[in-house]
């Protein structure tokens, strides 16, 4: 390739052809446009007339210029011009093609792969060995240098990862490198710690070239809840001009189908790399959100998974039984409301309403007795994973609930009466809280010294009691007990939720305890204590494109590792712990998205906006257009192009070649069909698609026409075949429709046409050609097909041809209607019910209506069929009897046509004697 500035040519020698242009100029100039030859008798008057100026016998300069330009464009076009050619730098020795292979590569992974492919091609040409490596999947034992063709096969197996390379892995790998090689690094453009040491190590081995695309990249930080609003911070790679992205909140709808629950557009200010999306959603909707993602960005970083931290717990407070009026501050609910305020959504009301709302936590404050139905309802709800939180009180202490045997909705058995300590009438001091045991969910909460318990209900010392106690007083008396019930739990505070029995509800500890119990953590990310010493199993993991996949049998990870951030061992995804699910996102709340910074010594390609672009197609197009102009101009010069009409015609041909002629042809064909069908009486048959059947049917129509021509004054024109889908039917007095099992059902449009035809007075003769062996209700394939075909047709009630039907006397007197078969099973429209036979008349008075259908199976067309020479096409019967039958078939055909053409005329004729008689009188 030869490069001139911004322009390169792949075949520069062709440009020498431009030198020939001046020669061409001279040649073309001498050849004027060819004259038009015209025969014209008046030439004798022209003889001797000379042209007033003889200038234009040379090609006009502008036409020459046009042609020169066209040929110049052709030559330059074929010389393979390329705008902004990318220099191909050769090289020798091994080449390492290194990809970052992170989530940031995922959106344009295919493009990167094709770039790698191109690099492999180049290396193949240069005869280099190549190794391809991903920093997220560094090959153990250093790069594996192979022939490029070997690597090409493996490219399809490479995939980006949802995490980023860790500094340690890179350090280990770098330390194991040996030998000299050049590096072609397809960078994802994101700044990270591991990049600098890797670059230094690779630079030491040979030259490093970097390929980067300057594309936009945005990422989501974990969503958080602030003042009841969802906030999703969005970061982008380069703080440049203003840009807006749409963030979708996804989650299952009530039917469990994943949908976009909400969408918000967030705009980056000019020069700002961060933006914040704020969404205000109802709690139900918010609780359903499983993840946020940037619309259209296929990258794991553009997805942030929502875990339990987003959910606002719904807490149900059963308040209906609070019948008495009391002071606000003495009400248990006041303290509960205050404790749940801001961290949970409260549902208050009678028990059945609250349970129906399916809260996460149900609070029964000093409610002892539950009816059987309520108990069942609550038990079901707890078993399904609910948390029942009960508080003691005067009522519970006075009741017999869980006294002798353990109540299923109580964690422990209770002693009667409870106890009171440190009061005026009792000995001892008010009791303090003991520090929480490590097995307790409250473990780690500081125990304030000023919390004192004055009264409580007491648990019976049962064997299970120690396990069920999650908080105790300093003397070991259980204060909070818990038991599992199904998937849920029942928790009893042995004190009231008000400050009546203890000062616990007044302390901050109360709030924290409730939080722990209800695992409400609307305060944001859970603190580190939640993770310590616990194992989390991956539930679903993200791939680099940001799709959630089932984790399968991945090993559980330690909670501490989850805190450290996504890595190979801990891929981003959802992790399930004991009580909660934790989302591991690519981006944590602090991380920002920075652009990779390369030292000036490293050439970075692909960053500049100039993209290599072949100019060959536009130049060749230009040449083509110029040639078209030249053709028009030449025509204009020679006078062949007259006026705008010709120009429009040519343009029309150029533009409308596919459609216009077809259309014209179509309507012309329809016109020809209409002309042919209307020039005379024409009988037609329906094209069934079975070539043999169609052939016989057409021959039958022809034979019928010949018979009519010979015997009657009906002189039909040549029979026609009708395509139900395309042809107009209304021209034909009668359609003969042989039923073939091969025929596809007509389209709805064709059915509409057929019904219009039948209602408009047309007649269709259906012929199943099965000899009527099975009758109309039969099961021969043709009869079934007929039923299928005729189902959508507008056909009246039918009957077999009665003895006095007009068809029996329309021309010949007939009592049988044979074709090639002789069955009496021929059906026509049923006579009206009121038809009566007049005294002394051989026929009923039936002069209404012409039947729209004649249905039979006698293969009439087969009997009528004649060859072009007028000989019978098919045999009918045997010997003389057969010929007799053919004659009868022909007579039936004549009768049929007479009936079609004259209607009930013959029916009227029978009344003539009566009429004459009446007139005579």
């Amino acid at each position: 390739m030869v490069v001139f500035g911004l322009l390169g040519f792949t075949a520069p020698w062709l440009l020498l052809g431009l030198l020939g242009l001046p020669l061409l100029w001279v040649v073309l100039r001498a050849v004027p446009p060819a004259p038009l030859r015209r025969r014209f008798p008046g030439v004798v008057l022209l003889l001797g007339l000379t042209d007033r100026d003889s200038e234009s016998d040379r090609t006009p300069w502008w036409l020459l210029l046009l042609r020169m330009l066209a040929i110049g464009a052709l030559i330059i076009g074929f010389a393979g011009p390329i705008l902004n050619p990318q220099p191909r730098t050769g090289g020798s020795g091994p080449l390492l093609v290194l990809l970052d292979g992170t989530w940031a590569d995922a959106p344009d992974w295919e493009a990167r792969m094709s770039r790698v492919d191109a690099a492999l091609d180049e290396a193949d040409l240069d005869g280099r060995v190549v190794a391809v490596a991903l920093t997220t999947d560094l090959p153990a034992g250093g790069p594996q240098f192979l022939a490029p063709s070997d690597w090409r096969l493996r490219l399809a197996g490479l995939a980006p990862a949802a995490f980023e390379p860790s500094r340690e892995e890179v350090d280990d790998w770098v330390a194991a490198l040996s030998g000299a090689f050049d590096t072609f690094w397809l960078s994802d453009g994101v700044a990270r710690e591991a990049r600098a040491p890797l670059l230094a190590a690779l630079g030491a081995r040979g030259t490093v070239r970097v390929f980067e695309t300057g594309r936009r990249l945005s990422a989501l930080r974990p969503a958080r809840v602030s003042e009841g609003r969802l906030e999703v911070p969005v970061v982008r790679l380069r703080a440049g001009e203003a840009q807006s992205v749409t963030v979708l909140a996804k989650g299952p709808d009530p039917a469990g189908i994943e949908r976009d629950l909400a969408a918000g557009e967030v705009t980056f200010e000019v020069g700002s790399a961060e933006a914040l999306l704020q969404l205000e959603l109802p709690a139900e909707l918010r609780n359903r959100i499983t993840r946020f993602e940037v619309q259209g960005a296929r990258s794991a970083a553009a997805v942030t998974l929502a875990d339990d931290s987003l959910k606002r717990r719904e807490v149900g407070l059963v308040t209906a039984r609070e019948g008495r009026e009391g002071l606000e501050l003495l009400s248990q609910y006041h303290y509960l409301r205050a404790a749940f305020e801001g961290t949970a959504d409260l549902v208050e009301g009678p028990l059945e309403d609250v349970v129906a709302a399916h809260p996460d936590v149900l609070v029964l404050a000093d409610i002892a007795q539950l009816s059987g139905a309520e108990r069942d309802e609550i038990t079901d709800w707890v078993s399904a994973g609910g948390t029942l939180l009960r508080f003691a009180g005067a009522q519970l202490a006075a009741s017999d609930v869980s006294r002798d045997s353990e109540d299923s909705l109580m964690p422990v058995r209770l002693r009667a009466g409870g106890r009171s300590v440190g009061g005026a009438m009792s000995w001892g001091e008010p009791k303090q809280l003991a520090p929480f045991a490590s097995a307790s969910p409250f473990f780690g909460l500081p125990v304030p010294v000023d919390v004192s318990i004055n009264a409580q209900v007491l648990a019976q010392p049962d064997p299970d009691l120690p396990q069920r106690t999650i908080a105790a007083l300093s003397d070991g008396t259980p204060l909070v007990t818990r038991k599992a019930l199904g998937e849920g739990q029942v928790v009893l505070f042995h004190v009231t939720a008000s400050a009546e029995w203890s000062s616990l509800p007044l302390s901050g500890l109360f709030v924290q305890m409730l939080e722990r119990l209800t695992v409400t953590s609307a305060s944001g990310t859970p603190d580190a204590a939640v993770f310590e010493g616990r194992m989390f199993t991956p539930d679903q993991v993200l791939d680099a494109q940001g799709r959630l996949r089932d984790a399968g049998a991945m090993a559980a990870v330690a909670g501490e590792d989850l805190l450290a951030g996504a890595s190979r061992a801990v891929p981003p995804g959802l992790y399930a712990g004991l009580e909660r699910r934790v989302a591991m996102n690519v981006f944590d709340a602090e991380r920002s998205l920075g652009a990779a910074d390369w030292p000036a010594s490293v050439p970075v390609e692909g960053l500049q906006a100039r993209v290599e672009r072949s100019l060959m197609p536009p130049l060749l197009l230009l040449a083509l257009a110029l040639m078209a102009c030249d053709a028009l101009a030449s025509l204009a010069l020679t006078g062949r192009l007259r006026g705008l009409r010709a120009l429009v015609a040519i343009l029309g041909i150029m533009i409308l070649v596919p459609s216009a002629p077809l259309h014209a042809q179509d309507s012309a064909a329809a016109d020809a069909f209409a002309l042919e069908a209307t020039q005379d009486v024409v009988f037609a048959h329906v094209i069934t698609g079975d070539a043999r059947v169609d052939e016989v049917a057409l021959a039958g129509m022809r034979g019928l026409g010949v018979t009519l021509y010979q015997r009657t004054s009906v002189e039909p024109a040549e029979a026609m075949s009708v395509d139900l889908e395309t042809d107009e039917l209304s021209f034909f007095p009668m359609l003969y429709w042989p039923i073939s099992t091969a025929q596809p059902l007509p389209s709805p449009a064709a059915y509409a046409k057929l019904n219009r035809y039948l209602r408009g007075g047309g007649m269709i003769v259906f012929d199943t050609r099965d000899g009527g062996i099975a009758g109309l209700a039969g099961t021969s394939p043709e009869a079934l097909k007929l039923r299928e075909i005729a189902a959508p047709l507008d056909i009246p009630a039918l009957e077999t041809i009665p003895q006095d039907h007009v068809l029996t006397r329309a021309f010949y007197l007939l009592q049988r209607f044979p074709g090639r078969f002789d069955s009496l099973d021929v059906w026509v429209e049923a006579a009206p019910a009121g038809a009566t036979q007049v005294e002394g008349m051989p026929f009923r008075n039936l002069n209404d209506n012409v039947t729209p259908v004649v249905i039979g199976g006698n293969d009439w067309a087969g009997a009528w069929a004649m060859t072009a020479a007028g000989l019978p096409l098919l045999p009918v019967g045997r010997g003389y009897a057969g010929e007799q039958q053919r004659e009868l078939a022909a007579r039936f055909g004549v009768n049929l046509v007479m009936y079609v053409l004259t209607g009930n005329y013959k029916s009227d004729q029978v009344h003539v004697p009566a009429l004459l008689q009446r007139i005579g009188q």
Partner: protein
């Protein structure tokens, strides 16, 4: 070698256009209602002309006794003279006449043949004798002569432009020249002078295609005569239009003057106009010349 069968097939091919031509001509002639045309003077004929008083010298058998019986004088019944006239037709059948600018228009030759044959039919119905100059036969009447004329009209002339050549022109007869008159005018002049010498009167009909009147050509064009003997090349046909039309008008003017000088009549007929009017004109011209 000519076998009877080959001869017959050739003859049939040749005769094939005859019936249509005859039919067209008959139809054209039928459009003009007319009977035998009288000469508006007494003479031999079938039609009553006038009664006049008998004069000395009238034969007794010429006296119309029925008329005379109604008055005292004797009357003679005179009949209108119905003399047969002979008409010589010269129809240009050269190559230049076989031109039609459009498929919907008839060729000039065809139109000329139609007109002349229809005229012949009309004249024969009127009792006149007709001859076609190119056949060289004397004027006759009858269907055989008509067939002969039709054959002669269909016989093409190979020349590019025709020269009229008329032999056996009877004195004081009538003549019709139908042509586009694109050929040499001197020959026409000569023939007309010859005819005028014999006291022959008649009509000149110039048959032209509308294209020849319009000359709508532009651009570089080579014009060729239909026979191919003449050609003219121009670079700008549009520039020639004015001069062509001038020349055409000049030629027409010349013909018109020529006709006037000999007591003839001249008109121009275009193939895109109905033939009936042209036939009427021809017929009138032949009658008016008397």
């Amino acid at each position: 070698m000519t076998t009877p069968a080959a001869l017959r097939s050739r003859a049939e091919a040749l005769a094939a256009p005859l019936p249509p031509l005859m039919a067209e001509a008959e139809q054209l002639a039928r459009t003009m209602l007319l009977g035998a045309h009288g000469r508006r003077q007494s003479g031999m004929g079938d039609e009553f002309w006038q009664y006049r008083t008998a004069q000395a010298g009238d034969e007794a058998k010429t006296i119309d006794w029925r008329r005379s019986g109604r008055s005292d004088a004797h009357y003679v019944r005179e009949k209108e003279w119905q003399g047969a006239q002979s008409v010589m037709m010269w129809v240009d059948r050269s190559a230049s006449m076989r031109f039609a600018s459009d498929k919907t228009l008839p060729q000039k030759a065809r139109r000329a043949a139609n007109l002349s044959l229809a005229l012949a039919i009309l004249l024969m119905k009127g009792g006149e004798r007709v001859a076609l100059a190119s056949l060289g036969t004397p004027p006759r009447i009858g269907s055989l002569q008509l067939t002969r004329i039709a054959e002669g009209l269909l016989d093409p002339d190979e020349a590019d432009y025709a020269r009229p050549e008329i032999k056996g022109l009877l004195p004081h007869s009538r003549a019709v020249f139908i042509s586009d008159f694109m050929g040499d005018l001197a020959a026409i002049e000569h023939e007309m002078a010859k005819a005028a010498d014999r006291g022959v009167k008649g009509a000149l009909m110039q048959v032209l295609d509308p294209l020849e009147e319009a000359f709508p050509f532009t651009g570089r064009t080579v014009f060729e005569s239909l026979g191919g003997s003449l050609r003219h090349e121009t670079l700008r046909a549009g520039d020639l239009r004015q001069r062509y039309l001038e020349r055409l008008a000049e030629r027409r003017d010349h013909l018109s003057r020529l006709a006037r000088a000999g007591g003839w009549q001249f008109t121009t007929h275009h193939t895109d106009t109905p033939a009936q009017s042209a036939l009427l004109w021809l017929f009138e011209a032949l009658q008016g010349g008397r």
